[in-house]
């Protein structure tokens, strides 16, 4: 059993029924997706950390009705990427993962400045790429010219 399967097993035990969906065909580039509540993200990340995964990427998505953060994790094995997804209201603060993965420090700084999602107890809440006095969030759909602002269910049926 690979590291990915072990993590999958642990996450299954931790999360409620139906929260973990497997994609065996690997069509969207992940082996499985775990829907994690805001309160459980630190615990889920710890499971991944103990399982030998690294935090590959962190993306914020801005929908009209909700905000979402997608954590892409990977272990150094063939086709073993998986993602954790957290849904939360725009104004809610998310627990930081910087205590678990060092890479989260910069990734969260980037998500914070570009999308305006705040992190609870982040060790270094400065802007990373934007000017230090920038108070706007360019990747919010309310900023600048956009093609469409959609609800989440319009994209993920």
């Amino acid at each position: 059993m690979g590291k990915k399967e072990l993590i999958l097993q642990k996450l299954r035990e931790m999360l409620p029924e139906g929260a973990v969906i497997q994609h065996d065909a690997y069509t969207s580039g992940v082996a499985f997706v775990a829907r994690v509540p805001v309160s459980g993200i630190v615990e889920a990340a710890e499971v991944c950390d103990r399982g030998g995964a690294y935090l590959e990427s962190m993306t914020g998505l801005d929908f009209e009705d909700t905000a979402e953060i997608v954590y892409h994790m990977n272990v150094y094995e063939p086709k073993s990427r998986f993602s954790l997804r957290v849904l939360f209201p725009h104004d809610e603060k998310i627990p930081t993962l910087s205590g678990i993965f060092s890479s989260a420090v910069w990734l969260e700084r980037e998500v914070r400045e570009f999308l305006g999602f705040d992190f609870l107890d982040h060790p270094d809440p400065r802007n990373l790429l934007l000017p230090e006095d920038a108070d706007f969030h360019p990747l919010r759909k309310t900023f600048g010219k956009i093609a469409a602002y959609r609800k989440r269910e319009e994209i993920y049926a």
Binding site: E56, S57, H72, K79, S102, L128, L129, K145, A148, I155
Partner: protein, 374 residues
Amino acid sequence: MPKPIAPPAVDRVYTLNLGPQHPSTHGVLRVLLDLDGEFIVKADPVLGYGHRGHEKMGENRTYKQFMPNTSRMDYLSGLLFNHGFALAVEKFAGIDVPLRAKYIRTICAELNRISSHLLWFGTYVMDLGGFTPFLYAFDDRENILDILDRVTGSRLTYSYCRFGGVCQDVDETFLEMTKTFIDRLRSRFSDYHNLVTKNIIFIHRTRNVGVIHPEQARQFGVTGPNLRACGIPFDVRKMEPYELYDQFDFEIPTGTNGDALDRYNVRLEEMEQSCRIIEQALARMPKGGGYLNRSVSSRLTPPKGEVYFAFESARGLTAYYLVSDGSPHPYRCHIRVPSFSNLHVLVDVLRGTMVADAISILGSIDVVIPEIDR
């Protein structure tokens, strides 16, 4: 090997502003160094001087319009980014690619990887004070640029790949030039080894310098040659084979210590592996069969949903994360760039080293700043 120093009294520490206009920060990186004498107490990279908002641009452009943007992030391996974006959208929208086009793209991508590594080789030795290998490497790189210039029409910021192929077929001269170049490069490797690899000063400057431990690499998400130098054989071309990489015979070079010397050796060996891939591709490339799938609409609309497509650029694992709402514009276009994590690990690695080593380590990591800033 300088030993980590005890935290000094506060009044002994002074700040050195390395960059953004410094000969060795390769672009517009600025690092605030807290120094005790010549020893680094704390390094704080300041980013964003090259931020152009590619992700926002991606949301306002059609998929095809975004293609030229891709090569402007990592301008040293622009064709690889190009290639990756084409692959991501092809996977997303289910587009077929003619076999000949796949071979052409593989050859060009690997040529671009070699050119990127050559440039790194030159600038890295220059960071260490050796100026001559820089021009030798540029002399070789010039050949690649000439080859790619003939087929793509550009030398640095390529926009060669299309969804379903490439924009222009290659001819016999291209194949001939590529073959000649591979032979030439192989003969040059011995020069490089004599001039640099076996040089005692070079070895002293790189061995046990800037060691990245595997655990450190995992914590910071380091990928690419830097990760492989720590001994972890992780290469997207092998782990999640895309295009034709599962059909070629090549190896993943790895190191053992994760120091600058290992990173150097891994990159030099990777150039040789790229040569092998190109040779196999040249031998197997079909003569006909078209170079472009012409049925692709220029305003193509992938189905609703998302795709995360990872590929191996010259610097490591790069990925496009595209979310589509069924319109011609991506709803979200995120790019996972390898230099971002590779630079972040410096914060840890630089602590306790000397200024001279900071330059050497920064060079050995091989970061392209506009790629981080996006």
